[in-house]
Symmetry: C2
Subunit: 622 residues, 2 copies
């Protein structure tokens, strides 16, 4: 099958049984890959309300048709499972090289089920696969474990998807780390790996599927290679943190647990600040010319190993401004620790910020914090917290459960300081400033999420943006704090499009434009597809993820947002009013209706059938 | 504006005032043209429940961006007004040369409002326009009137959109005849012209808008010129009646007022039959290589003037099998009369068939029929009826009102024999055989309609069909009598697509395929559009037409079908069961829901807003 291997590896860790399954072209064309395949497995094979950390949960590593094609942005893959933070749909999405390697090793996805008696890792190479003992790897940080695997198998080019101690300890927001620095960060996928005693997946592949028109893909790739500096040069130069000064200026830089939106040390942690201090190199994902990934080196007062990469925007926000830390070296150290232990930097930072606010407001004392002076801005305390969380030591035991569960246990109003939706911590975008994105946090199937969301900034004119969004919708700049019908129409298309990009295995940072994405899918698969079909794929998968949550008992009431965001931002110079509860609720209801869901947020039978998901309607009983 | 003139001519017949209006690119890109512009005017400018034959009604002649481009299928235009048969949304769509001529004369549409004191015609040439006295033309058949206009203006290449006596007499299904043989047939647009004392629109144009990429359009045109025989050669060879034998064989040839689906004389009236007898030539519409139009000549026992063209499939059905007439010469004569008098051949045949069944069942007698022996198969009686209807003479006065109104007046169960939906007569497709199309009759905004409908046959594999429907939906052959969710999903997309083709001014017979249609729009307008945007245009306009009817008081109860189609077809060899009322209702409800309408068939505010029609939601008060 062009663009696909047509093979999916199923691994039952309980029995050790492994087999290769073939689903056929019609299946692929409906579900495509990425979250499409994750969601299919979660709905079809995983029972409702299953404990995400039980052997009944299933973990999928899913590639899209574009994963591993020789063109920028093709490094993406998606890790899926029921979500230890929310109990509902879960996935962590990731760039790097692992996805391409797995594609070239002959598979489109892996399904991991059951639980191994003792630690194992999965070794896949060019169509072969085996489970291997991981006793010696267990307890190791990701760098050490990767080195051991490469040594054991005698190949230094092996790619790894791995957990460190945080995953082993089932920290609910442990992530899966690919090649030490690419995190499938959200939704606690590392905890699921840990619960299964699966330390790592190691992959080496030199083949892969034929492409329908490799020459054409090469032409597109060369075009982007020639033009990327003009189209997205800022991403190369300053990385994802390039926008920090602008966020600070508009009051949209989450600071001190979202109490304010400006941070006095913003310049230190910005892309420019990093470039002028600790940046030693830029790195790319598979086949990508953009090189938006940072490499940093610090020797004093911390040592930060460049092999662990460098912090991205979400990290400088979460482990910088959000915890009040303006020392970029401390941020880089925290980033390194998270990658070594397999912790989601977003959730880790947001949880620590929560703990800091609790401490400052007197809900936690030194008796609770193992003596840490857990104030905003205390970099040492922040780094100590990362360690404690990864090892579930002292206060780390409580905080490893995530801010929602911790707040419940602390009580006395702590829940007001827990910045989460459905149990998953907020990324570093201020919902009072980017209000469309705030609605997106509320309705995302994974809990607060920034990847499958509207990025209001992209609605503004800019190089490539007319190409990036060429739906023909009359998109004129709409205010960040506009969440009216026109904005929410665009929002609906935007989240479906983001959902599609995930299914395709294509990075949202590459401004191919929608037409060219269609071209890439055609040149890869040979399918005579078009934007109408592809938008339906995005909508189908967004709807399927919703349906999984509905089956798990989620209702419209769970599509919420911390109370804080309906109150004036505590900033010396607020640039907008807070979210208005009625406007926000109207926007949510608009989105449901535009998606063909009921006012309770339940996909209707007809909508499911019209998307080819009649079997899901039966499953839901709608 | 590339592809458009950017000019719309408004003519107020009451005051004689005329002016040119410019709507701007954003308007055009939302409404495109064709039914898009018709519907916009009917919703925006014509009050709810206005009498379609009053001066308050407005008549629009609307072109699409593709109208008049140098490529096959570009001859289409749409005539719109409130519908004298239904009281709701009305339009008649037409090929030929008039649309292209108007485009080349510098306009994208004409709005005609008010009512002239005395007969006038509108003369438009290369941006100029004037109203001229039509006293001498009034009462003339279309041929004579056209000759008089051409002589008066001294140009034999003038194109005309015109009414004959039937339009003048406001026969409710009078049509607009372009150049003697191209009928904007449905919805009584000729009656509206008559009510306004507007005899004709005469046009001559030698300019027209620039095209974004005329060279590329030329390439596409040449490609189709090379390949049309392979893709659609049957349409050239046998015209639209080529499928008659197959329809007869499957029991789908409406016969004797839809009492049966097979006709013993089918071979006579088929494309093959016509070719072997009266066919003397084939003709094309503007820029089209396909030449699906027939030219026939008959000398005995009738004379049929080839200038009036020849009957198409709908005509050989309506004025052939449906009235039981198997003499193709009589059919051709009836066709000529309809074109001379400006009568919709579909409605005329269906009304006469209704009258014949009433006669045979004893509800009408010779006392009612002016002595006519009005039995099925009586060709002379059929021809006499055409004359009487056009002139509203004798029984023609009653029948000129259409079968729904006539049945009401006759009473005694006559309504069971009136084959109409919402007051508009059925085209020649048997809803028990093509059940998806049967549902389409029910829900069409114009009443029973075959143009904006599913054509189940196109779901079957065939040359060009995989290209014609490339939505990526897994379209495998579905049974004609399947109206389940998969079929209705396809149906929903198909009617929206048909709605789009109308907005574009592109003929549905040309198997460009959807991708190439997108290419043609891009090459014409220069807009960076795509199938997603264009499908939304189709959906937007299908929804807007619905909204017009909702405002006029139509409800789901009006989306009906004659009782006959829920009963076994009266055929010696029925090939399917009749429509099942529950299945049919489920299909209707599926369509409403898939369109984002309530179970009462009312577009929701969110759906309207998401389509950029928030102003319509305000208008409807939803």
């Amino acid at each position: 099958m062009l663009g696909y291997n047509g093979k999916i590896l199923r691994v039952d860790l309980s029995s050790g049984r492994m087999n290769v399954e073939e689903y056929g072209e019609r299946f692929y064309r409906q579900y495509f890959g990425g979250r499409g395949f994750n969601a299919y497995v979660q709905m079809k094979e995983v029972p409702a309300k299953v404990d995400p950390l039980s052997p009944e949960n299933k973990l999928t590593i899913s590639l899209g048709p574009l994963t591993g094609i020789p063109a920028s942005g093709s490094g993406r893959s998606s890790v899926g499972a029921k979500n230890p933070l929310t109990g509902g749909y879960g996935e962590g999405d990731v760039g790097g090289f692992m996805g391409a390697e797995l594609k070239h090793a002959g598979f489109d996805a892996i399904i991991v089920e059951g639980r191994a008696d003792k630690p194992v890792y999965l070794w896949i190479h060019d169509g072969e696969f085996e489970l291997r003992d991981a006793a010696a790897l267990w307890g190791q940080n990701t760098l050490e474990a990767q080195e051991m695997i490469r040594a054991e198998l005698g190949d230094n080019r092996i790619r790894t998807a791995m957990i460190g101690p945080a995953g082993e300890n089932m920290v609910r927001y442990a992530c899966v780390i690919n090649d030490l620095k690419h995190a499938a960060g959200r939704c606690g996928m590392g905890a699921v790996m840990g619960s299964k005693n699966l330390k790592a997946i190691a992959v080496r592949g030199k083949g892969g599927p034929e492409l329908a028109d490799a020459k054409l893909i090469g032409e597109y790739a060369r075009w982007f290679g020639k033009n990327f500096m003009e189209l997205a040069g800022g991403m190369y130069d300053l990385g994802t943190s390039g926008g920090v000064p602008n966020l600070d200026a508009t009051g949209g830089l989450p600071t001190r647990n979202f109490q304010t939106g400006t941070f006095e040390y913003f310049a230190n942690i910005s892309g420019e600040g990093m470039k002028n201090t600790i940046l030693i190199d830029r790195e790319n994902c598979y086949a990508c010319v953009l090189r938006c990934k940072r490499v940093v080196k610090v020797d004093d007062p911390y040592t930060v190993n460049p092999l662990y990469g460098g912090p991205e925007y979400e990290t400088v926000g979460a482990l910088g401004s959000c915890v009040g830390v303006g020392d970029v070296k401390a941020v880089a150290k925290a980033n390194e620790l998270c990658n070594a232990y397999s912790l989601d930097t977003i959730a880790t930072g947001t949880v620590i910020a929560f703990a800091m606010e609790c401490y400052e407001k007197g809900l936690l004392t030194k008796a609770d914090t193992d003596g840490l002076e857990l104030r905003f801005g205390n970099a040492e305390a922040m780094l100590a917290m990362v360690e404690k969380i990864a090892r579930r030591e002292g206060i780390g035991e409580l905080m490893a459960e995530g801010s929602a569960r911790a707040a419940k246990q602390i009580g006395r109003g702590a829940e007001e300081f827990a910045m989460h939706v459905k149990g998953q911590e907020l990324p570093m975008h201020e919902p009072r400033i980017k209000q469309g994105l705030g609605v997106g946090y509320s309705v995302s199937p994974t809990g607060a999420d920034h990847v499958h969301n509207i990025h209001d900034t992209t609605m503004r004119p800019g190089p490539g943006m007319d190409r990036l969004y060429s739906w023909g919708i009359q998109v004129e700049p709409l205010a960040f704090n506009d969440i009216g019908p026109e904005k929410m129409t665009y929002f609906t298309h935007a989240v479906n499009w983001a959902s599609l990009q995930n299914c395709l295995g294509m990075c949202i940072f590459i401004p191919w434009g929608q037409d060219r994405i269609v071209d890439l899918v055609k040149a890869t698969t040979g399918w005579n597809t078009n934007l109408f079909e592809l938008m339906q794929v995005g909508e189908r998968m967004n709807t399927l993820c919703r349906a999984i949550n509905v089956r798990d008992g989620f209702t419209a009431k769970d599509d919420t947002l911390p109370k804080r965001f309906f109150q004036q931002i505590g900033d010396p110079k607020p640039t907008t009013d807070p979210l208005d509860p009625k406007e926000w609720n109207d926007a949510k209801q608009f989105y449901y209706a535009a998606m063909g869901w009921t006012p309770e947020g339940v996909p209707t039978r007809v909508k499911l059938q019209a998307l080819g998901l009649g079997w899901v309607a039966d499953e839901l009983g709608v």
